[in-house]
Amino acid sequence: MLNQVRRSAVLPEEKAGQWVKSGMTIAIGEPAPMGLLRWIIRNKITDLTVIGSGLALDYLIAGGCVRKVITYYAGSPDIAVMPAFRSEAENGTLEVWECEEGILTSGLEAAGKGLPFMPWRGGVGTSLPDINADLKVIRDPIGGEVLIAVPAINIDITLLHASISDSYGNVQHCRGTGWLDMFLYRAADRVIVQVEKIVSNEEIRSKPWETTISNADATVLMPYGAHPFYSRGYYIQDQGHIHDYLEAITTAYSDGNIDKKDDYLEKHCNQFQSHAEYLDAIGTGHLISLSEY
């Protein structure tokens, strides 16, 4: 009866963050795992291929971490097209693997299921197979219908934000996961989940039907870790912070005065040594004001 201790999956941010190496393919869930993303930017990880969408994706692009994006949507309710994404894509400095939601989930499902491809109908007749050479128009082997063969999209590390986990990598999302989170988890070799709170194993086992991920490779305790985004059941989006980002980054790129981008990143990300320092700068009063109710 050796080795009688169950291993903990809880890691400090720098330990978990170090798993992410330049050149990897990573994925970002929803709500966005901003604490981990700030770690990546601060630590100058580069040449990433990133599966993500919206502002969290843009933040990583602005941070200089991204070579290629796999995305279905780089807009938001606040802006038609994200500024860093738009500018770098138009310059040709950012590669875009053009897809859409159903094609993306099909490729992720193929990876999770250990298949080389999945067929999908959405996208037939569109420009997607013309723009993206990895999407192959096929005839189905049974009735001869035209479909798209989507290759497996494999991920090195998926980064998620969730409500709670126990010490052993059992994760539960308050009010369900983001729509893509589970696809991203299943397509990845490893998953790191930042959580609002770490709870007892008994709390997890009192409602196993709510466990969304039962084998997270690491969980990182990061209360308010999704800021400036929401975390279901905890806090709402910080619209002011988001508008500041959009204005700063849009201005930086359109002025051709890219230093303004570095100023923004220094002020809101790079100057901090840890997530806790970031929260100190945001301030407790402001964080409380974002409480979801």
Partner: protein, 263 residues
């Protein structure tokens, strides 16, 4: 409250009248006109409608008002939904999408109702204008029972003879069998609603056709701002303006902050 409806309010009311009780109405983010339209229809005549926002399914017909969320990603707005089952299984139940109704915008829309969200420019690797990408529109427009194209601008830069890229196929290169030939089962685009007019698609060719002009808009104005030759019927009615009831409910029970009135 008896003031005239704004153009956006008019557009929302036009759409709301199109929606039938029992429809499953999916609205993405950043489409305020359909967001108002589905809520208005739900109150007016849709006790069995299902509203699908942020991956949640809601029926809130019992509520006195169904206000818009404070902002796009407001996680509170779907707290009391009936189901979140659309999230992890968004595309696993396409079989039931014949009941579903969807709304799309576009950087470009052509005369057969194909839309482009990818971008403008001849080199897809270095677009002149990089769009936000196709979201879920290719899959949704492939399968839903019907969908509506809703544009914030009616201009010849948007309504073009041919899209630079196609995100979502409408009637492809035309013809009532265009979708069938491609193997795309859904019902296709039904209307295109803009700040100037309402348009549909001809029965045989499936080319875009004027249905009605909004009050105060002239035919010449529409023609001048449309980048392709629009099918023009012999009689062109004026878009039926919101009733007193519709406008009152829209303003007092849906669009409480006047997003469509002042925005």
């Amino acid at each position: 409250m008896s003031s005239t409806a704004t153009i956006k309010e008019l557009m929302a009311v036009v759409l709301s009248r199109e929606l039938e009780d029992g429809d499953h109405l999916q609205v993405g983010v950043a489409l305020p006109v359909p967001e108002v339209a589905v809520r208005l229809a739900h109150i007016m005549h849709g006790p069995n409608m299902q509203l699908i926002f942020l991956g949640a399914r809601m029926n809130v017909h019992h509520l006195e008002s169904i206000p818009l969320p404070a902002f796009g990603w407001d996680s509170r707005s779907v707290r009391w939904a009936e189901s979140y089952s659309d999230r992890g299984h968004r595309f696993d139940h396409v079989k039931a999408w014949h009941k579903r109704v969807f709304f799309v915008g576009g950087l470009q829309v052509d005369k057969f109702g194909n839309i482009n969200l990818i971008g403008i420019g001849s080199d897809s690797k270095k677009l002149k204008f990089r769009g936000p990408a196709s979201v879920g529109t290719p899959t949704l427009t492939t399968h839903v029972g019907r969908y509506y194209i809703v544009l914030n601008n009616h201009s010849s830069r948007v309504l073009v003879p041919k899209c630079d890229y196609v995100s979502a196929v409408g009637w492809h290169e035309g013809g009532a069998d265009a979708r069938k030939k491609l193997g795309i089962p859904g019902g296709g685009p039904k209307l295109c609603v803009t700040p100037l007019c309402v348009m549909d698609f001809t029965e045989v060719e499936k080319r875009m056709r004027l249905v009605s002009l909004h009050p105060g808009v002239t035919l010449d104005e529409v023609k001048a701002n449309t980048g392709f030759e629009l099918e023009i019927p012999d009689i062109i009615p004026i878009t039926v303006v919101p009733t007193e009831d519709e406008l009152t409910i829209l303003r007092s029970r849906v669009d409480l902050n006047g997003l469509l009135r002042f925005g």
